[in-house]
């Protein structure tokens, strides 16, 4: 139906390796929260490493940074999953498991519906938002653009 889908990449710096006891609670949340995403209205795709059902082995930013990447039908769909589902409680507790990053750790951009973006493309978008701030090609929830490049009032 829609011509564009919203892709997002977010990165998080681990306090300790994923197999550390302090990360056990976070690891236990992986399966239910991934299942929540997969069944969320407007969910299109999320990155997995092929072996497991998650992307934790994909570490383009170094050993201590995990990434997740997904595609959604709309901003509302991504928003409702991120902040209006069980996922919010994981975000609320993020300091228990992740170190704060000085640079932006999330980026979103529009892709033609049906095209799955590559990790390389996602890295370019995050790099852009870090370098230039939010714009039509790479933005954040704070400053959203529509596919035509117009700022969206939320």
């Amino acid at each position: 139906m829609t011509e564009h889908h919203l892709a997002q990449l977010n990165v998080a710096r681990l306090r300790e390796p994923l197999d550390a006891p302090s990360m056990a609670e976070f690891l236990a949340l992986f399966e239910p929260v991934n299942a929540l995403a997969d069944s969320a209205p407007g969910f299109v795709w999320r990155l997995t490493d092929g072996d497991a059902d998650d992307a934790t082995t994909i570490r383009p930013y170094g050993d201590d940074v995990i990434i997740n990447m997904s595609v959604w039908e709309s901003r509302e769909a991504l928003w409702n999953f991120t902040y209006r589902s069980g996922h919010l409680d994981v975000l609320r507790r993020r300091r228990e498991w992740f170190l704060r990053m000085a640079e932006p750790s999330i980026v979103m951009w529009w892709v033609p519906a049906g095209r799955i973006p590559s990790v390389e493309e996602a890295r370019d978008r995050l790099e852009r938002v870090r370098r230039e701030g939010p714009g039509p090609e790479a933005f954040t929830f704070r400053e959203v653009y529509d596919p035509a490049g117009v700022t969206v009032e939320i």
Binding site: N80, T82, Y83, R84, S85, G86, L88, D89, L91, R92, R94, R95, R100, R142, I154
Partner: protein, 226 residues
């Protein structure tokens, strides 16, 4: 219409009853239902509902009754729901939104969530203790606790029963929560945990369970928890 005019539209007692009723419902309300609830004639209710819509306090939508479509289904009914727009009036002019946003941003940048939650829990607790004093001795310490419901209503949460849980229809911190969800929702959870603790409603626990369009917290009976 500016904020003062919009709020002044609520001065009429019938209009106020209609607004309160529509705002409290979990569905869009038709004229007949609103008229019954306010105890007035339908035509009078329709007049006031439209005035409330003009004032931007309600939104009007046209819909066919559920389950009917196609020819012969009748005209779509005019239904009303509370507008999402916020109206604020302060005399003399005050602006707490800008500092609130800046302070929330500081908490996020500095990673101060833990401190915020500790302070929010403390604040909730003293509010709860004060509210418990006003409510007097209460027999029920579960979700039926009327003292707890009153304290929640007084803070704008609009509690309602949903199966075995007590859900909160309204987020009193909505605009700020949309800007800084983890910070503000975490604060809200801590406030409510403190409030319940201060009230002494021992059979109830606050849990984060957000849904689109509602408060992020649900109150559950501790007996039902697995």
């Amino acid at each position: 219409m500016d904020d003062v005019d919009a709020i002044a539209a609520l001065q009429d007692p019938v209009r106020r009853r209609l607004y309160d009723y529509v705002a409290a419902q979990d569905h869009e309300v038709g004229r007949a239902e609103a008229a019954d609830a306010a105890g007035v004639q339908r035509t009078l209710a329709a007049f006031h509902l439209d005035r409330l819509t003009e004032a931007g306090l309600l939104d009007a939508v046209f819909r066919r009754p559920a389950g009917r479509s196609g020819p012969g289904a009748g005209r779509p009914a005019k239904l009303y729901r509370r507008s999402a727009a916020e109206r604020v009036v302060s005399v003399p002019p005050r602006d707490y939104r800008v500092p609130a946003e800046l302070l929330a941003e500081v908490v996020e940048e500095a990673g101060g969530e833990e401190i915020l939650e500790r302070l929010a829990r403390r604040r909730g607790r003293s509010a709860g203790v004060a509210a418990a004093g006003e409510a007097g001795p209460r027999a029920d310490e579960g979700l039926e606790d009327e003292g707890m419901a009153a304290a929640l209503r007084a803070r704008g949460y609009e509690p309602y029963r949903d199966g075995t849980d007590l859900r909160l229809r309204n987020c009193p911190f909505h605009a700020l929560a949309v800007e800084f969800p983890p910070v503000v929702c975490g604060m809200n959870l801590a406030l409510l945990e403190g409030l319940i603790e201060g009230l002494g409603t021992t059979g109830v626990a606050a849990r984060m369970d957000p849904r689109p369009g509602e408060c992020c917290v649900v109150l559950v009976s501790k007996n039902n928890e697995s």
